[in-house]
């Protein structure tokens, strides 16, 4: 990404940091809760930005690892009465391990087959959560997930849990920034552009891809765990097709491969529907329609590299499209 893009990226991150701090100080419980949710959504989006934005891995399965993190945290605390902090860490570790094991067989696939296989995995995990009622509490989900505590200091109060969420988010953003800047990030971007050229330069393509997918899976599990702790509840329909759409939306609309893209995407996906609550049932439809609109009209997203996609003139019928090229401006 050119220097101008990185500057704009950095600016948006700084602005986001200021907004986060200001909201905490403002003490408005509505905004603090909303931004807790934005932070949790951003964590899974940052992870997926590594897998899709940097390494070009089209995986529909991030939501499955979110469910793993969420349910592990919920079940360990409610059934095994584990300490919430340990449960959160265990859930995240389980997400990391499963994202390694489950993604290995997918490395040989690409294109439609990778998309279909990861989608089948995601919907399979959701269906398991919905039906294995003896283990996962079935469609009703898991109640009574305790909140985090610091010694005797309960973090149930959202303004305190807020700090945990945004610390985790900052941590993930730092991991993204350090890896993207390093030789690992360059290797990912090279593999996303030309896996054959990367192999001819000695890069172990499979190992680099699985690293990106494990980082994404870990952050997804962390996000699921935090979500369970925030709501003190977790249910299967949180991890369905709608969430898959949200995760893609946050990374694509925010701008693939950009630092601040996922933050902006998360803010959009959480805050916009809340403002549209007046639409009632039409809320879900409008959000999905917006995602379709972004895919067609603005595929590189807010902070993405604009030259990545074909130009919008391509949408015009052939006759009109030919006009500009005749006057010397190169068509798409």
């Amino acid at each position: 990404m050119s220097r101008a893009w990185r500057a704009r990226d950095g600016l948006v991150v700084a602005a986001a940091a200021v907004a986060v701090v200001m909201t905490e100080l403002s003490g408005s419980s509505y905004w603090i809760y909303s931004l807790c949710l934005v932070g949790i959504y951003a964590v899974v989006a940052i992870g997926f930005n590594i897998a899709l934005g940097l390494a070009g891995q089209v995986s529909f399965a991030q939501v499955a690892f979110m469910a793993v993190g969420g349910y592990a945290t919920a079940l360990l605390t409610t059934k095994a009465h584990a300490d919430p902090w340990l449960a959160l860490l265990a859930g995240t570790a389980l997400g990391a391990a499963l994202s390694f094991v489950l993604n290995l067989p997918f490395l040989r696939l690409s294109g439609h087959y990778l998309g279909m296989a990861t989608l089948a995995l995601a919907l399979g995990v959701q269906s398991f959560a919905e039906n294995a009622s003896s283990i996962t509490g079935g469609a009703l989900g898991v109640f009574g997930v305790p909140s985090l505590t610091l010694g005797s200091f309960s973090l149930a109060v959202h303004s305190r849990f807020y700090v945990v969420v945004w610390t985790a988010c900052a941590l993930c953003l730092t991991v993204y920034y350090l890896t993207a800047k390093s030789h690992l990030g360059r290797a990912w971007r090279a593999i996303a552009a030309r896996p054959d050229v990367s192999a001819s330069l000695g890069i172990n393509v499979s190992r680099a891809r699985i690293l990106a997918l494990v980082l994404a899976g870990t952050m997804a599990a962390l996000s699921g765990g935090l979500w369970a702790l925030l709501l003190n509840y977790v249910a299967p329909d949180y991890f369905g097709l709608a969430m898959i759409g949200n995760i893609f939306f946050m990374v694509i609309a925010g701008g693939m491969g950009s630092l601040a893209g996922p933050l902006v995407g998360a803010a959009f996906v959480v805050l916009v529907p809340q403002e549209m609550s007046s639409l009632g049932q039409w809320q879900g439809v409008v959000l999905l329609a917006m995602l379709l609109g972004v895919l067609v009209l603005w595929p590189t997203g807010l902070l993405g590299d604009p030259r990545a996609a074909g130009s919008i003139t391509a949408l015009l019928p052939a006759r009109l499209r030919a006009m500009p090229t005749r006057t010397g401006k190169a068509g798409s």
């Binding site: 919907l123 399979g124 097709l241 879900g284």
Partner: protein, 287 residues
């Protein structure tokens, strides 16, 4: 009894699976909205019959046409622009997944939020197999499934349009040299898929009620049928559907009723990883 219900449900999955295979073979697009056409066919017919008081026959035809029209609209408004912008394949796949996800709430808002049933095509026609009565409607579903398979195969083999669609599937660039417009060919096959989905909906709704959210279930199971049978073979996808339906019916009956979906997904992941072209598809390299 289980076998008959299994084959009937299998026929619906087979018809949806065939829709996936037809669109994939001709345009290379994996189209997730096919499942929603089944719901549109069923509930569309119900609305025309129950609300608009159309005669039953006309309502069925109306429901089928509605599904075909929505399929055509989706192709023109979403897939063609993505093609023209040369979007990557996963973006097109994502757009069909979201397309499928958007039709469900739209149906709930515009047609009916509840599950609805249709009267059987021939009232009172029941069958008596192994000690239990089952609705004759299942016979129609199976018969229609076979008829559509035969009809589609004939259409692809004998008619000029069918050959052009197969040519488009074989090579988009060469078909352009033969005067075939890929965007138009894709639109035609999408509408045909919509009509087939609509018919499946109008057929199954009398036997078991249809609800807006079932579109995704049909979409996913139809996709499993197509993947099982092999995306590039229409007959394979049909067979995959029948296998899936009977398998699910037996699991439901004898093993555990609520794990059938999970088992289907696990099966699907295994197939895609081990043999991406399905049992009957051509085994070209999937990577």
């Amino acid at each position: 009894m289980t076998l008959a219900v299994g084959i009937a449900i299998g026929s619906v999955y087979a018809l949806v699976g065939m829709g996936y295979s037809l669109v994939y073979r001709t345009t290379g697009v994996v189209n997730f909205t096919v499942g929603s056409y089944v719901v549109l066919g069923g509930l569309g017919t119900w609305w025309l019959l129950d609300q608009a008081h159309f005669p039953y026959g006309l309502a069925v035809i109306g429901g089928i046409i509605l599904a075909g029209a929505i399929a055509g609209a989706f192709w023109t408004l979403i897939v063609i622009p993505l093609w023209r912008r040369r979007s990557p394949a996963y973006v097109v796949l994502l757009s069909t997944v979201i397309g499928g996800a958007i039709i469900a709430p739209l149906t709930e808002l515009l047609i009916t939020p509840q599950a609805e049933e249709l009267p059987p095509w021939v009232s009172g026609f029941t069958l008596h197999i192994s000690g239990s009565d089952i609705s004759g409607q299942y016979v129609f579903v199976i018969a229609a499934g076979l008829a559509v398979l035969a009809g589609v195969s004939l259409f692809l083999r004998q008619t000029m349009l069918g050959k052009q669609l197969r040519a488009c599937g074989a090579s988009r660039e060469t078909s352009r040299l033969l005067g075939i417009h890929p965007e138009l060919a894709g639109g035609i096959i999408m509408v045909i898929t919509g009509l087939i989905g609509g018919l499946a909906g109008a057929l199954i709704t009398p036997a078991q009620s249809s609800e807006a959210s079932m579109g995704l279930t049909f979409g996913i199971f139809g996709f499993a049928a197509a993947a099982l049978g092999g995306l590039d073979s229409v007959a394979g996808a049909f067979l995959g559907g029948i296998l899936l339906g009977t398998g699910q019916a037996f699991i439901d009956r004898y093993y555990t009723p609520n794990y059938d979906e999970v088992i289907v997904f696990a099966l699907l992941v295994a197939i895609l990883v081990l043999r991406p072209n399905g049992l009957f598809g051509r085994a070209e390299h999937a990577g």
